[in-house]
Subunit: 425 residues, 2 copies
């Protein structure tokens, strides 16, 4: 039978043997994309296009990629001359026996060779069969577990990243932490640029900050969680993770783009590590910003980071200067928290120009299961850090109760001043 | 949990409860397509967007559509202002309990309401779970069965549609049939415009044509099959089908666009009808020709017609004046014959300017499992119909044996004359 390199995606998924990857590329509408897809499917698996006597039929059956669909966009059936440019979505099924449960091995197959060289295409979607997907840890806490741990059952969570980013002593950092926690912030985390420098190492930071945290708790009765950035060389990062809970940290943060999804998954899968993990997207730009190479942010942050075990995935709003698409920013929250086998949902966290006046819009667009990452509007509040935190929290609580911000501001001087300073969108 | 209207397509397919339909539409890149998709998924199932007390959670769980994916094309993650136009592929999962195994009911859900009104979109792909797909008959013969019946094991098949299309007596038709069959044509079929007119009714046609067929067989030893167009009102069409074999016909033809996919499926599913079916695409133009409404030809002809039971699906080459896309014409052949559960493959048949000189190109592009539908180049050959058929067959046999047409023409005067008249592409 001809065309056995082609197969229906729903049937391939049913076998449980394939990961289905969809790519997008541009070509003349009349081009024979099927042939190109075949070249790619073979080139990224059994690795040759010409007939080799060493490649048996059984090898092809077990290890060769298959073409599981080609879609042109716009969907043309007729055309003037076939030279008009179209986008083509090519779906390739890769036998996961080829790469197993390593994200690095998976991504080498998906993006490691032809996609970035002979075939210039962007990876835009991934479908995993159930057993394969469930080999990955997924979030250890998920949205429900995170809310229980932080004792915030319903409203959006408020997160602050300590500013300045780096270059201060443990004592200075602890003072900033204390002032911020006094305002009732739910989570304080390190900046992504602060990892394990000699002047402010992870362990010392945890000790100093958690003392500040407990001091604020003594005064307010509200407990702030500290998420420590454990990004470091290996195996040091794993050691940080294992000790962090004993030292008093409430959560972990990892710059997963550079540490690798496998390292993130190792943290999430380790039963000795019982802390939620915030995955920071720093460095994802080059992976996601082109329309013709790399991968879609929904794949990278929305699917892979969740599967690897991020309880919180931080990404950008379109309102802080970075031109992230509003449509995608909304889909990201949906993708992170939609049902996916028995993988727990992850909490979307957004940063980028977050001020109290933006809270109604952000919650309307992304929902209540949301972490609002506010930096400048907390540390930059005219009345100081504590007031900045209070203003954000007042805005969040007003929105959660269905109150208008202007109404809420009448009884919240911090909020009123923030709205005067940064406005409302 | 929020966003339960969203679900992973691979998980939905795994439940076996959903048909997944993908639509394409154009919108500003920053638009909230997710909300639009939700409206569509609800509007085409439980049928209301506002909260109605009569709709219970259980009803929603069983009957409501889900959003199984949104893909923007080109795949943008950043954008200047979100006002750039993007294409969006929206995948909606419909519980098939809503429509069951009727194609008419299925298409009413898929295309019957919002898609053509409030949401202007083109249906571009369909995924069926195995048990649902296998409720449909699929081809009774398939490529293998068809080749066995016609005793042509390997080379492309030659089909002729009797010209003129209509307006002649049974005797005249039989003479044309005889002259064509003498040239060794594998299949002769009626024109799609010839159904069951009083002057040339189905039964009389079958009797007259099969006599002509047997007369030619007596002279050549080559048996030509007659595929009779049984398109008619119901239940007459079914009656034609049941009597056709007894009367001597070798196959059936149905104008399935107008008769309906359900009628085609009824023919294929009936154990009393043991003839292969050729599905004619006449009338599919308005369904497929827009980029923003209707459905892709690959869905209609490549997927639905096969599932409904077409052993042969006739469609256009891009070489006969109709501006069908070359890329799609090639994908159609692949889709019809690729593995799909235990549904047999269907044989692609192409018409539109088919001359002997085009055979190498058509076979190179579509493969050996192919029916070549030649009309004008057979009945219009300078030496007459019989020679026209011979010329086509000589070209097919040359290509099947790997011979160059010019070489073959040295020993084939009919082919030589045809190449001189129509050239070679």
């Amino acid at each position: 039978m001809a065309f056995t390199s082609y197969a229906a995606p729903e049937e391939l998924l049913g076998t449980g043997r394939y990961v289905l990857a969809t790519y997008c590329l541009q070509a003349p509408s009349g081009a024979d994309i099927g042939r190109l897809a075949e070249k790619f499917a073979v080139g990224q698996t059994v690795g040759t296009w010409v007939e080799l006597p060493t490649i048996t039929d059984q090898m092809r059956e077990l290890y060769q990629g298959k073409i599981a669909g080609i879609q042109d966009v716009p969907p043309r059936d007729i055309a003037a001359d076939g030279q008009e440019q179209s986008f083509f979505l090519i779906r390739i099924a890769f036998p996961h026996i080829n790469f197993g449960r390593s994200f690095a091995a998976l991504l080498t197959t998906l993006l490691g060779n032809d996609a970035s060289t002979s075939v210039q295409a962007k990876l835009v979607d991934l479908h995993f069969p159930e057993e394969y997907a469930q080999q990955f840890p997924g979030p250890k806490f998920g949205i429900k577990g995170l809310r229980e741990k932080l004792q915030v059952p319903k409203r959006p969570l408020l997160l602050n990243m300590i500013k300045p980013c780096l270059g201060f002593t443990p004592e200075t950092g602890a003072e900033i932490f204390y002032a911020t926690a006094l305002g009732g912030v739910d989570i304080i985390k390190d900046d992504e640029l602060l990892t394990n420098p000699s002047y402010l190492p992870v362990e010392e930071r945890i000790k100093a900050y958690t003392q500040a945290r407990d001091r604020a708790y003594g005064e307010t009765g509200k407990r702030t969680a500290y998420f420590v950035n454990i990004t470091d060389r290996l195996p040091d990062m794993l050691e940080h993770a294992k000790r962090a809970a004993d030292l008093g940290a409430d959560g972990l943060m990892v710059n997963f783009v550079f540490s690798g999804l496998d390292a993130l998954a190792a943290l999430a899968a380790d039963p000795q590590i019982q802390l939620p993990i915030l995955a920071h997207y720093a460095g994802s730009g080059p992976w996601i910003e082109s329309t013709s190479t790399g991968m879609d942010s929904l794949v990278y942050l929305g699917k892979l980071a969740r599967l690897a075990g991020a309880d919180i995935v931080l990404y950008n709003t379109p309102y802080g200067g970075y031109p992230y698409l509003r449509s995608k920013y909304m889909q990201m929250a949906r993708l992170l928290s939609q049902p996916y086998y028995s993988i727990r949902p992850a909490m979307p966290a957004v940063g980028g120009g977050v001020t109290p006046g933006m809270v109604p819009t952000l919650v309307k667009e992304l929902g209540m299961d949301l972490v609002l990452a506010a930096g400048g509007s907390i540390q930059g509040h005219p009345l100081g850090t504590t007031s900045g935190a209070k203003a954000m929290l007042q805005a969040i609580e007003a929105v959660a109760q269905g109150l208008d911000l202007q109404t809420a501001a009448q009884e919240s001087p911090e909020l009123r001043i923030a709205l005067e300073k940064w406005g409302q969108i």
